[in-house]
Amino acid sequence: MGGVRFEHRYTYRKAVNIIMLSTTGLLTLLALIPLFWVTGYVIVKGGRYLDLDFFTRLPAPLGQPGGGVLHAIEGSILIVALATLFSAPAGVLIGYYAARHPNTPLGMGVRFATDVLSGVPSIVVGLFVYGVVVVRLHTFSVLAGGVALAIIMLPTVIRSTEEMVKLVPPSLREAALALGAPEWRTAISVVLPAALEGIVTGVILGVARAAGETAPLLFTTLGNDNFEVIRLAKLAIGVGASPWEIARLILTQPVDALPLTLWKYSQQPYPERVNQAWAIALVLMMLVLGLNLMARVWLAYRRRR
């Protein structure tokens, strides 16, 4: 009697086991549907409208077909390059400090602030940079966009540097110190190079994140259909401007970026613009997912060795 009931109970438990375990697999599939749906749609739809003009021409007048998004491509490159320049060196040093002093008040403060900053909504970062940079310079600019994206990138760079520096064996550092190298020399020529691959991966992930961000650019770079670096530079050289003045001219222009242009185009009633929005989405996806995949595969490969 008891044995039969036990058998029943056992069958029931086995059934629950199988059903629930397969449910988790199904849920994983379910969650990946949007990824394939988005990617597939963007490739099909965006691929159709991607041509050479897209990369080499400025936007056509509203409602007319043709034209490209050269202004946004140049803008994105400039803003992201500037953001990397601002955030990577500082972020690496801050991350190094946090790794070397994990238990001092300042070290803990830095780690806490990193967590806080990575949770701050990007739109709030946009508001902040508007108040701090745009209001003071009296103009929306490449510079302000660079600062905004640098703030977005900082937590990624700091955290990955911190983790990678912690993985460097202490014996390496001690060996350098025992040979008489000062602390700074040890950091720059021994510890940081040993952690370099991880740090670079962190920076690439930061760049990938920054390149896809729109919200922080809304009120820092605003947008500019006629932004073209080479034309600006020629104009400036024509009136005999020094390189410093040319750089200043370019950095203080309002500017578009790919995600920002995508957003604007998606809101417009002109089908040509919406089509181009899909093409921008394809370029962005390739860029962002490509960088991400590259960084992660590389890191996994190095770790296994």
Partner: protein, 322 residues
């Protein structure tokens, strides 16, 4: 004498300078983060003076009227809360399922590719989700789900306010925004929960298996209670992401202040109202009110993230010898 030469050597080495540089950068970073809060506080002064606590309290939902100089944050706070909560409710079972599959069940050869795919899901730029949402996802999935909800729950007396229709044919609505948010926060919750599972010591599983538990019973009765605070942390971290998500939501929520609480109608969130109106806010009071919304958003996400970190840290610090 000897001490002085020590000091000299110290300076010649440059270590003091190096240390000073690091400390200065670290301090500058702290100041930067504090300054974000401080600047929002200062720039919202006009609005805080004019409206006081009235800015925050629940009111009729249309009390946001830039033309009349009437600003109350409640409509957008409501939008943020309701979309984020619906997204969490939908995302949690799916994410925990993924975490279980990735950490406990999936064969090793599948683990790495699946991890990548989940991370790709998180890496898709928010504007791309928005674009896909407007033109593909909302008109199909959100509209049919909305019509279904309006026809069923919308008829139930207590729930009418939340589910009365009709949903716009474009699908632009709080429900649409919740769906997109769900997709966007799943990777966050799943990845952190997976790490929580992986951090649970092996002995816990072996002990339960030795007592005759099935694989599922190990997961459900042993691992999930053991890592409970970590999972809670993962969920709160996802909540933090949902609360602050801007572009995708701005593109799909319809951006309107019509006086309805329904999930099936368009609305605003705190982030989307800033994104949508700040560039056009001419009046000082208008931009100040938007700054105050930014301040509230900053405060809420700060609180949520700190809470989440503490919870996750409590599980991983309990693990012996790792």
């Amino acid at each position: 004498m000897g001490q002085q030469s020590n000091l000299k050597r110290f300076w010649r080495h440059g270590d003091a300078l190096w240390e000073a540089l690091l400390v200065a950068l670290a301090l500058a970073f702290l100041v930067l983060v504090l300054h974000i809060g401080w600047m929002l506080w200062q720039d919202s002064e006009l609005s805080r003076r004019a409206f006081g606590w009235r800015f925050l309290i629940p009111t009729a939902i249309s009390h946001w009227n830039p033309a009349k100089g009437l600003f109350q944050a409640w409509p957008s706070i409501y939008g943020t809360l309701v979309t984020s909560l619906v997204a969490i409710v939908l995302a949690v079972p799916i994410s925990i399922g993924i975490a279980i599959f990735l950490a406990e069940i999936c064969p090793p050869w599948l683990r790495l590719p699946l991890n990548y795919l989940v991370e790709m899901l998180a890496a898709v730029p928010s504007v791309v989700y928005g674009l896909w949402g407007i033109f593909v996802f909302l008109p199909t999935v959100a509209v049919s789900a909305g019509n279904f909800l309006a026809a069923t729950l919308g008829k139930v007396p207590g729930l009418m306010a939340l589910f009365h229709g009709p949903i716009p044919t474009s699908g632009l609505s709080r429900l649409g925004a919740s769906f997109i948010l769900t997709i966007m926060i799943i990777p966050t919750i799943a990845a952190v929960s997976r790490d929580v599972f992986l951090a649970i010591p092996r002995e816990q599983r072996e002990a339960a298996l030795a007592l005759g538990a099935t694989h599922w019973e190990v997961i459900w009765d042993v691992l999930i209670p053991y890592g409970a605070s970590g999972f809670l942390g993962a969920i709160i971290l996802g909540l933090g992401r949902a609360l602050g998500e801007t572009m995708a939501v701005t593109m799909v929520i319809g951006n309107s202040v019509e006086g309805s609480y329904s999930l099936l109608r368009p609305g605003y969130t705190m982030a989307s109202i800033i994104a949508n109106e700040f560039a056009e806010a001419v009046k000082a009071l208008h931009s100040s009110a938007l700054m105050e919304i930014g301040l509230i958003l900053f405060g809420i996400t700060l609180l949520v993230n700190v809470m989440a970190r503490i919870l996750v840290w409590r599980v991983s610090s309990r693990v012996p010898g790792r």
